[in-house]
Symmetry: C2
Subunit: 444 residues, 2 copies
């Protein structure tokens, strides 16, 4: 390897993923160096607490509690931003880009909130910003979308993008247990992020959906323009009834573009999908993404969406692309040209009105088990314009209530909201009505 250029890497944040990246680069350095035609040096990692015990032990000289000792070190070529969060991470990323460094990140929240600014900064500085690890961990979804399927436009992208909620839903389904009974295990296993709302209320997957929507359609969607619902309110009974009807419940991101009226819908919510769908077999911590391209048809990718090793694998593949870019390869995304591409991709595209999005629905109601209640409920549905497809009633003798479960034929969000409103107002309805969407995957 004499005479090979040396590429120096600094890591911001030495948590699970940072340690994984360090460990795997160290272990596989020879193979990676051969593959990339350069020498690699892990310069140092920045942490907030030097005294904390970590699985991967570093010499004192390799650890710093000053992140600027990385982003301002003129010798460092590639900065891996693995601290998470959006404030310090944004500041350090902008500084690293301004210093001419290539940045690799796994930070979906940062890209979702500040992608436009960060991409513009990278473009301005003539450097690159890589983020394969930010969506679906080890699944090379960004590369597939941007390079492998470059010949395509994408009417539909959907998938399971949050491993934690998929783990909880899978165990609820397999064991017939409630959300509360499983979520504790997920916490114990370290699957739930410190900010639990990211996993349990859907925000983590929503961030990823926003990134995919931008890459496929050139449009940044604000989280507050999106329908985002998590899995907290799903009960064991919902899962069991869905199963009876031939469905599983999965937390799905759905990115649908209508090329006729040029509207884009980006949403994140639990949905019933048919058990026979491959996506329904994506269980436990796995992620899955289905891409329907106008040329290639449907391609589906399944793999580990999180965890030290899978995420490290994605970060290292970005480091490999970064090494290529530093050696003069045209980057995959960020250049003046590409800005044009994304702008043109999104040109004339408007967000679909959430109320107009179509779906079939599943409703759960708790009612006082009294005469005439069913007539009232079904009238509420029909007044809202919803047509009932299936119904089942579970009586609960202990308190004289009953749980009613319905599915409807395809309608839209406006009608569903109207139905919820009407049902809420019915006197025998004693709990807030609960709704799930039924997602009908197109024929592959």
């Amino acid at each position: 390897m004499e005479g090979k250029r040396k590429i120096r890497i600094g890591i911001l944040g030495f948590g699970t993923v940072g340690q994984g990246v360090w460990k795997h680069i160290k272990e596989d350095r020879a193979a990676l160096e051969r593959r990339l035609g350069v020498k690699l040096e892990l310069v140092r990692a920045a942490v907030s607490d030097l005294s904390k015990k970590r699985g991967v032990k570093l010499a004192k000289s390799k650890l710093t509690d000053d992140p600027y000792a990385i982003v301002d070190d003129p010798k460092i070529d590639i900065v891996c931003e693995l601290i998470g969060g959006t404030k310090l991470a944004r500041k350090l990323t902008l500084r690293a880009l301004a210093n001419g460094k290539t940045v690799v990140t796994a930070n979906k929240a940062l890209i979702c909130e500040h992608g436009d600014e960060l991409f513009t900064a990278a473009r301005k500085e003539g450097v690159h910003y890589f983020f394969e690890a930010s969506v679906a961990g080890g699944i090379p979804i960004i590369k597939t979308l941007r390079e492998g399927l470059v010949a395509n436009r994408f009417p539909l992208i959907y998938g399971i993008l949050n491993g934690t909620s998929n783990y909880i839903l899978t165990r609820m389904e397999r064991e017939g247990l409630s959300f509360e009974e499983i979520v504790g295990d997920a916490r114990d296993l370290g699957y739930v992020e410190a900010d639990e709302s990211l996993d349990l209320d859907g925000w983590d997957a929503a961030h990823k959906a926003v990134i995919l929507a931008y890459l496929a359609h050139g449009k940044w969607v604000n989280l507050d323009e999106m329908l985002v619902e998590g899995i907290r309110n799903i009960t064991a009974r919902d899962v069991a009834y869905a199963s009876e009807l031939g469905y599983k419940i999965k937390l799905l991101a759905v990115i649908a573009r209508n090329f006729n009226d040029e509207t884009l819908s980006v949403r994140l919510h639990p949905a019933l999908i048919k058990k026979g769908e491959i996506m329904a077999q994506v269980d436990m911590v796995f992620n899955g993404v289905s891409l329907t391209g106008d040329v290639v048809g449907t391609t589906l990718l399944v793999g580990r969406g999180a965890g030290q090793d899978a995420t490290a694998s994605a970060v290292i593949s970005d480091i490999a692309d970064a090494v290529h870019a530093i050696q003069g390869a045209p980057g995959p995304l960020i250049s003046e040209e590409d800005e044009d591409i994304y702008r043109q991709l999104g040109e004339g595209l408007t967000l679909a009105k959430p109320k107009s999005v179509e779906s079939a629905y599943y409703f759960r109601l708790r009612v006082r088990d009294e005469k005439g209640v069913l007539a009232k409920v079904t009238k509420a549905f029909s007044d809202a314009g919803l047509s009932v497809a299936t119904m089942i009633q579970h009586e609960e003798p202990s308190d004289g209530s009953a749980v009613l479960l319905f599915t409807t034929h395809v309608s839209n969000e406006a009608a569903a909201a109207k139905a919820i409103n009407k049902l809420e107002q019915l006197d025998p309805v004693i709990e807030a009505p609960f709704l799930l969407r039924i997602f009908n995957a197109p024929e592959m």
Copy 2:
């Protein structure tokens, strides 16, 4: 687009895929040109018969029956070799490379047989040779293996790589029909290649397995060193009994590397896989590939493995990479450096002895329905060292024969061959004994 470099493309072969590539580049030219930052010109296509009617109509000036008018045209930058076969295709590819052109191909047989020579030629000329479309059609498996999962070594790669046989097996399973009853439909639909043996005897998928094995392990495996079995001898009864036991039958390529003793096993045969596996849900003309990497864990890709549009999508993604390479990007594969990589990947690696490969087995026997036959058959198994796991007997009153179906516990190919040999010699066995392997996918 003023001042943008013009990249000129010539196409050898204007069959299904060639027409698909032409059509999609023409239709999506503006988007592709924006994306690639160049202008694209489709110069001409070479065919063997100018008078043949084709779905995609070209002006006379765009068609030629002289392929050298493409490979020798100094203006052409990228040659797409889509004629298939290995003789003329090899000659034209070598000539195009020698003329300094970048070549894109979908020709798996050519790479399987002459990959080493072609890669060396490309390297020598300092040009690139791209072949994403040669394996698994629209699934970006080559890119995933070489770039997306660059941080990994691969103990196991397996999958469904031939859409035609998968179509036949899927319909046999769904409709309970025989191979003979379905294969005619597959022919009518144009799914079966002119050389039927490619699809029905497994050679097409074997070619693809050889390419994946080289990319993952740096070793060219000769077809005659491989176990290659197609699907012709599978009966409706095999499919039904497999189903009873919880399995589907799929034609699988299996590429397994043991990093302890540095042996590589590459094989292609029908196998029973558990219905619950995602791979078992890959039905009809779809392909699926499962990659287990030492860092990322298991990633699975599913998509259209063949057909005009899916293959065109892959060819166009290679054209995009070719455009990048022509503009100075380091290529993904072929350079002096990379030759080293692949040589080193394969260094010290030997092919596993076929007889040592382990598996559980399924056997089908037809016997005369007479006293003591079961004792003889089970003795043959135990003499061969095989331990029976399940057995079922179907009597056929019409001719006094019976069909015996067995599964065994895990053993190896040597013991299975010994069992076949012993069973053949038993007097009551009136048909050649038939064997299938049972593939136990590792935990994802």
